[in-house]
Point group: C2
Chain length 188, copies 2
Amino acid sequence: MTTARDQIIEATCELFEMQGYHATGLNQIIKKSGSPKGSLYYYFPGGKEELTAEAINYTGQIILQRIESSLATIEDPAVAISTFILFVAQNVHASGYRAGGPITTVALETATTSEKLSEECAKIYQSWQTAFTKKLLQSNYNPQQAESLAATIIASLEGGIILSRTYKNVKPLESIAEQMSKLVAAYK
Amino acid sequence: MTTARDQIIEATCELFEMQGYHATGLNQIIKKSGSPKGSLYYYFPGGKEELTAEAINYTGQIILQRIESSLATIEDPAVAISTFILFVAQNVHASGYRAGGPITTVALETATTSEKLSEECAKIYQSWQTAFTKKLLQSNYNPQQAESLAATIIASLEGGIILSRTYKNVKPLESIAEQMSKLVAAYK
DNA sequence: GACTTTATATAGACCAGTCGTTATAATATA
DNA sequence: TATATTATAACGACTGGTCTATATAAAGTC
C-alpha cells in the first residue's frame, strides 16, 4: 500500500502540467498531496530531481498507453492520428487551456540544468514516437518515412498544445489534425 | 542613449532562452547585464513582469524579421519554408542544444500565472503565423488552407525545437523541414 | 500470549540561501 | 540647483534540503 507515495507523484504531475517545473515548490506538492515533507524525502531521497524523474515517467507511460490504445482502435493511420490529435485538443480545452504537454515544461526547463532529467524526457518522447512509427510500419510505410512522419507528428502535437494554450482556442490543434492526416495519407 | 536598459533586455532574452522564466532570477540578469538592481527597477518599475514583456517582444520582433527576410529571398514557398526550418536547426545545433524557442518557455511558464504575458506571447506567435500565411497567399493558396498550414508550420517548428534540444540532435527539425515542404508543395 | 527489537512511515521545526521588491543614499548630468 | 541614474542595503516570503522526534506495525524472542 503505497498511497502516500503515489499521491505525491500524482500531485507533482498535476502541478508540473499546469505551472511547470520551477514554479512548483516542494511545499506546494506536499500540501496538495496531504503528506508531510518527511514522507517526501523518505520516498524520494534524491529530492526534487528524483521525484521529477518518477513523475514524468508516470505521466509519460499513461500518455503512451493512450496513444497506443487510440491508434489500435482505428485501422487507417491517417484517420487514427487525426482522431488522437483531436482527442488531445478536447482535453486541452476541457482544462480551460491550463493543462497539456505535461513533460514539455520539464523538458525545456531542465534541458540545460539536469542531464538526467533531460535524458528521461528524451526516452519518453522516443517511446511516443516509436508508437506512431509502428502504426505506420503496420500499414507498410517506408521505414525512413515512417520515422520522419512520426517525429513530425510528435513535434506538431507538442507545439500545437503550446499554441492552443497560448491562444486559448483549439484552432491550432484542429489545423494540425487536418494537416497531419493529409500528410500521412499522401506519402506512403 | 539607453544602453543600460538595452543591455538588461538583451541579458534577459539570452537567459530566458537557455534557462526559462522562473529559473532566471533578477540578480542573475543584473549580474550579466552589468547594471545594478536600482537601474532595473528604474527602467522597469513594473518589475519582472514588465521586463519580461519587453524582452519577449524584443526577441519576438527579431525573429519576425528573420522569418520575413528569409521567406522573401526564395520565391517557392515550399523551398522557402524548408530552408527557414533548416536555418533554425543550424542555430539550435550551434548553441550546443542549449538555445532555441526563446518565448516558448515564457509562454508555457506564465500561461496560468500572468494573463498579460500570455497575451503578449499570443500576439508574437500570431505575428509569426501571419508572416507564413502571407507568403502562402502570395502564391495563391486558399486563404483557409494558408492559415491552417501556417499554424502547422509554427507548431511543428516550436515542437521540433523542443525535440531537437531534448534529443540533442537536429533530426527532428530536419524531418519537419522535409515534411512541411512536402505538405506545402502538395496542397495549394 | 507478552515483551522486545527493528523497520516503516509520519510529522514538522529548522537551515542557509535566493526570490522579487522596496527604500534610501550617492552620484552623475543638465 | 534640479533631474536622471546608479548603487546598495534591507525586507518578508519563499526555496530545496536536513534534521530529530514520534507514531505505527511487523518480526523475533521468551
